[in-house]
Amino acid sequence: MSVLEAREASVSRGQRLILKQASVSLAAGELVALVGPNGSGKSTLLRALAGLWPASPRGSVLLDDRPLDDLPRRDIARRIAFVSQDSTINFAYTVEEIVRMGRYPHRGRFTRESGADREAVRLAIARCDIAYLAERNANTLSGGERQRVLIARSLAVEPEFILLDEPTANLDVEHSLEVLDLCRTLAASGQVVVLATHDLNAVVRYASKVVLIHEGQIVSTGSREEVLSQRSLEQVFHVRADTVSDGDGQPVYIFHRL
């Protein structure tokens, strides 16, 4: 079983240290929520875990105990997918063409699309419920549709780890629940899903593990009850929360400014 891990990984951009000695370990079947205020370092941690931004010291992010720095970019891309918050699509590609780009790390420069490639694309399109859009020009889509197309492109990779940066930020209620349900299905089928999000109520419902990050540091990691305590909400988010129970007995937060 694959494990993606950060061991005291730090990231700096320019002179600024924006992730400070973060340690976190992700294993199969987990749906991990990364929460924290704006600018706390959620996206940075995701990028470090995806190997997109170099972490220091060298070798502090590991995939199955092997440093990401030593792995070829393509090998990483085959196993770890990253869905950016930026859902811009440049040039008039069709939705299907966009999703097929997800097969890039699996294909040689001149090999034709294999049956496995086509099947992965078909499955990804079906899972994100975008079959009806397949022939559409992807930059005429709404923000929510685009988000699902980009998630489908990453699913077409068939990655073991899928890291999503605020996947529900542009979505209406229905599609945001749809994406979260999809994340849960993926986690249940053995993939590791990590999502950075501001939606703390969604975290409560969906995440099996919560990582709270504040000012570049991981403050706590664990179950929702452990991490999102009244005290940490006050200290990190500067809010007070009333908790009510919904019909399923799940807690729902109502936030107030301190």
């Binding site: 990253f82 440049n90 008039a92 063409e97 890039y104 420069r109 990779v157």
Partner: protein, 347 residues
């Protein structure tokens, strides 16, 4: 869009062929298309297939040594500039980008001007193309060095330093031209060359240009899928396994080779690299594996026709090719721009 590919080639290949034959037949001495086909056939088909007795020695010289090389050079230059435009537009994620953006065009021009000023161009016909090609590659190296910090070359910085270096190198070309203006013959050669033209092109020019264009096209096709992903942004490309920095280096090098080879034999010919890829993309969609060869073929046909216009509109003098491409390409480009602003969708 995919369904349109066979139709596209079914229309364009005959256009390419017919315009090539017409361009070989029409000129200061008009020949029949049969004569052109007989000369070409006489060279390539087994003897006896073509009635060679009906071709005069003069026809032979005009077609084989003057017009065919000129048409072939036009085709190579058109293909080179158009495919180099495809790469630039993808790399800069902007459908209005063009080959001269990384400074290679201005570098090639400066190389050419230096070879005029130094007098090399008089002593050997190949010195000008070689100087231009060298100029293109040196300019790219300069632009890349300016834009790179710690092994990373952001495309925005690349664009800015390309534009800056382009202006600088053009200024040096103009400076060299101004200080040598007293040598009227040389100044005229330089000015004409800078405006782009295909007069007096020989088989030597073809062989100087064609291998590099072919090499550039093959290199571009190898990188077509990387280019598709780079079009979606560098981080996206990296997250799907593209080695972004090395891909950018290879792609800009490819455009420098394509642009350099084209400027080397034709001087500065604008608008082809901008308009042709843009127009082809509207018909066939943005996928680079389709777009690159299609733009190369369309660019070849476009430039053969432009060159035909350049030498027939105002006989007996020739209008410079760069002027014709701008006069034809400019309105097309403006039409595309207006269309782009009217549509909600982008390129």
């Amino acid at each position: 869009m995919k369904r349109r590919i066979p139709l596209f080639y079914a229309l364009l290949v005959p256009i390419l062929f017919v315009s090539a034959v017409v361009a070989m037949a029409v000129g200061s001495t008009s020949l029949g298309w049969e004569t052109v086909l007989r000369v070409v056939g006489g060279k390539f088909l087994p003897s006896g297939w073509v009635d060679a007795t009906r071709v005069t020695q003069a026809d032979q010289v005009i077609v084989w040594l003057i017009r065919i090389p000129r048409v072939l050079v036009a085709a190579c230059v058109g293909a080179g500039l158009a495919s180099s435009g495809v790469i630039m537009q993808a790399l800069f994620r902007n459908p209005l980008a063009e080959p001269s953006l990384v400074g290679a065009g201005a570098g090639a021009v400066l190389g050419g001007v230096i070879s005029f000023v130094a007098g090399w161009s008089v002593t050997s016909v190949i010195s000008l193309p070689i100087a231009a090609m060298t100029g293109a590659l040196l300019a790219l190296a300069l632009v890349y060095a300016m834009a790179t910090r710690g092994g990373v070359t952001p495309v925005t910085t690349l664009l800015l330093s390309g534009v800056a270096a382009g202006s600088l190198l053009s200024a040096v070309s103009s400076l060299l031209l101004s200080v040598n203006i007293v040598n009227w013959q040389m100044a005229q050669d330089i000015v004409f060359w800078m405006m782009g033209g295909l007069d007096a092109r020989t088989w030597t020019h073809f062989w100087l240009c064609a291998p590099f264009v072919l090499l550039g096209l093959v290199a571009a096709m190898i990188q077509a899928r990387d280019l598709d992903l780079l079009q979606q942004g560098e981080e996206t490309a990296a997250s799907f396994g593209v080695d972004v920095e090395s891909a950018k280096r290879m792609l800009t090098l490819t455009t420098a080779v394509l642009t350099g080879a084209s400027v080397a034999v034709a001087g500065l010919v604008g608008f082809v690299g901008l308009v042709v890829p843009h127009a082809v993309r509207l018909v066939l969609g943005p996928s680079n594996r389709t777009l690159l060869p299609a733009s190369a073929v369309a660019g070849a046909a476009f430039l053969i026709l432009c060159d035909l216009a350049a030498r027939t509109i105002h006989q007996p003098t020739e209008i410079r090719l760069g002027i014709v491409t701008a006069l034809l390409g400019g309105p097309v480009f403006i039409a595309l721009l207006i269309r782009r602003y009217r549509d909600v969708t982008v390129g």
